[in-house]
């Protein structure tokens, strides 16, 4: 009933609006549940780019439409949505997801439907490692991020004894593994491995392990909501050594939760500072104006992901003589993109769909405020 009001023309399988062909782009991100703040930011970033480009495509005879989906951070929901998205032939691309755990199974579905996906946030190695031709991402992978953190920890912070904690999710375990491997290679000793359970608030058990092991750096693979509490409780227990984490900790929420305890914490992130470039600054200002709130670190990546996709779509339309291309064509065109200049990123995909220009940034919290100070940057 919900969409039955739309005009439809089932014989061709495409929808039209005012004589122009409708092209829909879906976003999939957690709009509800624990990470809905960032999920919202991803949707909004993508929406902003789409709105900006609408006029251009209108001239070419196409109406762009955003279809936001809520994957709830749940693989099952993501796959179920993916099937719905894949089946809707007027959808030509997906921007998403936030969680690799959702992106991996969902992309298997997109591949079946030849539907291209551009990810603004997924870092797990496996996302692009399965040889799927529709899967692309503009951010760095955990096997860049983890080692970058390890190198910084060992070389710059002089950590010799490291304690690694994970939240036992796909993301947390994935990044911690890459970190651990590199740290060992660099000569550091892993003096203990612990884990916490998502959703709990008392992490004293693992903190006591840390106390016993007395490391000189603690690495946490997980998200800010647990990370913040972990740091706070650890500091309460007198653990003063540096903490380090990955992009999952890159959120203003981390500071809200940990408060002053956040000082002496380092994070690696695949998201750069939006204000670093002129375009970025403009983006931040526009975003604020449009949505009446500050962008999250991933907003600009969603914006750029949408940009990359629309560029590919445009290329595909052009090479199809201005007519609606097939999904395969769009996927090929997106993969073929070189040196796309977004608001913050420059995108060139390699044959796996990874962005060769992706970078990892290292930040330090010197005081209890967000964003933290950038102390390093690693490219491929």
């Amino acid at each position: 009933a919900c969409s039955s009001g739309e005009t439809s023309n089932s014989s061709e399988g495409t929808e039209t609006s005012g004589g122009k062909t409708v092209i829909k782009i879906a976003t999939q991100s957690p709009l509800s549940g624990g990470s809905s703040v960032i999920g919202d930011a991803i949707k909004s970033g993508a929406q902003m780019k789409l709105d900006e480009e609408k006029a251009k495509f209108e001239e070419m005879g196409f109406v762009l439409q955003l279809e936001p989906y809520d994957d709830q951070g749940d693989p099952k929901k993501g796959v179920s949505n993916a099937n719905v998205i894949g089946a809707d032939e007027s959808i030509y691309g997906v921007i998403g997801h936030y969680n690799s755990g959702v992106a991996i199974p969902s992309s298997e579905v997109y591949e079946k439907y030849n539907l291209v996906m551009v990810s603004p946030a997924n870092t797990a190695v496996e996302v692009t490692e399965r040889g799927l031709k529709t899967v692309n991402r503009i951010v760095a992978r955990d096997d860049l991020q983890g080692p970058a953190g390890a190198a910084y920890a060992v070389n710059e912070l002089g950590a010799k004894k490291i304690f690694v904690i994970t939240d036992k999710t796909a993301y947390g375990v994935g990044i911690a593994d890459t970190f651990t491997k590199e740290a060992k290679d660099l000569g550091a000793e892993i003096v203990g491995e612990g884990s916490i359970t998502i959703g709990e608030k008392d992490f004293n058990g693992v903190i006591n392990q840390v106390l016993t092991a007395s490391p000189d750096l603690v690495y946490f693979g997980g998200l800010y909501s647990e990370g913040g509490i972990l740091i706070k409780q650890a500091r309460d227990k007198g653990i003063t050594v540096p903490f380090m984490g990955g992009d999952g900790m890159d959120s203003s929420g981390l500071v809200d939760i940990a408060g002053d305890a956040i000082i002496n914490t380092f994070i690696t992130s695949i998201a750069g500072d939006s204000n670093a470039t002129e375009e970025g600054k403009k983006f931040v200002a526009d975003y604020k104006a449009k949505f009446n709130k500050d962008p999250e670190s991933f907003s600009v990546y969603a914006y750029d992901s949408m940009g990359v996709f629309l560029k590919g779509l445009e290329d595909a339309i052009n090479s199809n003589g201005g007519k609606l291309p097939s999904r395969e064509d769009v996927a090929t065109a997106v993969r073929a993109i070189e040196n796309y200049e977004g608001a913050l990123t420059t995108v060139t995909f390699d044959d796996k769909g990874d962005n060769v220009n992706s970078k990892v940034f290292i930040y330090e919290f010197e005081e209890a405020s967000y964003p933290p100070v950038q102390v390093g940057e690693v490219g491929q």
Partner: protein, 328 residues
Amino acid sequence: MLQELLFSLPQVLIDGLALGAIYAVVALGYTMVYGILQLINFAHGEIFMTGAFIGTGFFIMLMGMSWTTAIPQLLLFIIVIVITASFTGLIGVGMERVAYRPLRSAPRLIPLITAIGISFILQDVIRFIAELATGRYILTGPSLFSNQITINFSSISSWFNNASFKTSFLIVLITAILLMVALDYFVNRTKWGTAIRAVSLDRETASLMSINVNKVISTTFFVGSALGGATGVLFAMQYGTIDPYIGFILGLKAFIAAVLGGIGNIRGAMLGGVILGLMEMFAAANLSILTGGIFGAEYKDVFAFAILIIVLIFRPEGLLGKPTAEKV
């Protein structure tokens, strides 16, 4: 191995006690409602969560007012916990009125459905309110009673490491003990307590003994929910950060604690809560040491469940529960 175990033991015991005390008081609420209606009130965890939010909200509000700086923190705490407990108590009573009372004669599992439904509703309503008021729903309250106290265990023997805790730990522990003792008195020493048991056994006959069954049930819900809400405040104070989803897991753990102790049994719930807290903390800190790294802290819940199951196999009525004698 033993050395490492002993080394962290004092701290593990303290942390386990703090967590256990919280489990115990939440478990009391479960046990009370179960005791009278044989209903697993799955929404109880959400009452606890609501209490945590109301309490934190009050703290934030009161701390924002200038005149409160003149009041000692302890007094402030008492005010907040009393107000919160009355609020959640009333929510509990309302919940019983709307969602459980109409189903008294329905099949036993139906109220379980409304309980789950109420849980979802409470989670989302609290989230709305928090998000509308503060822009986010993960809330961090003002830190109260955060002085660190260190006990010098290492001076007793070099086997032990020092243990430290915040003042809030003492407050949690003392409040929890007070609540438990008061409740224990209420249930075991007053006529109300026997009335509660009579109602739970046979409502009709209880009413023939001049017992106002509805009133007894409402009171039980009020007391149980007030306890839950009060614990929410304790929790928020001890751990600082709360979100609308803390109730589910914690509620579940508390329920397990109640079963471990013997569901329906007040002292059992307390014992179960403390044991569960200690066990969890011990497992989280030592499992990987004990198993040479094969099983890590991630198996702490498995450990806790395994103990529970073993206990139930050997004592099917829980640690302090009495076997229900059925005359054939």
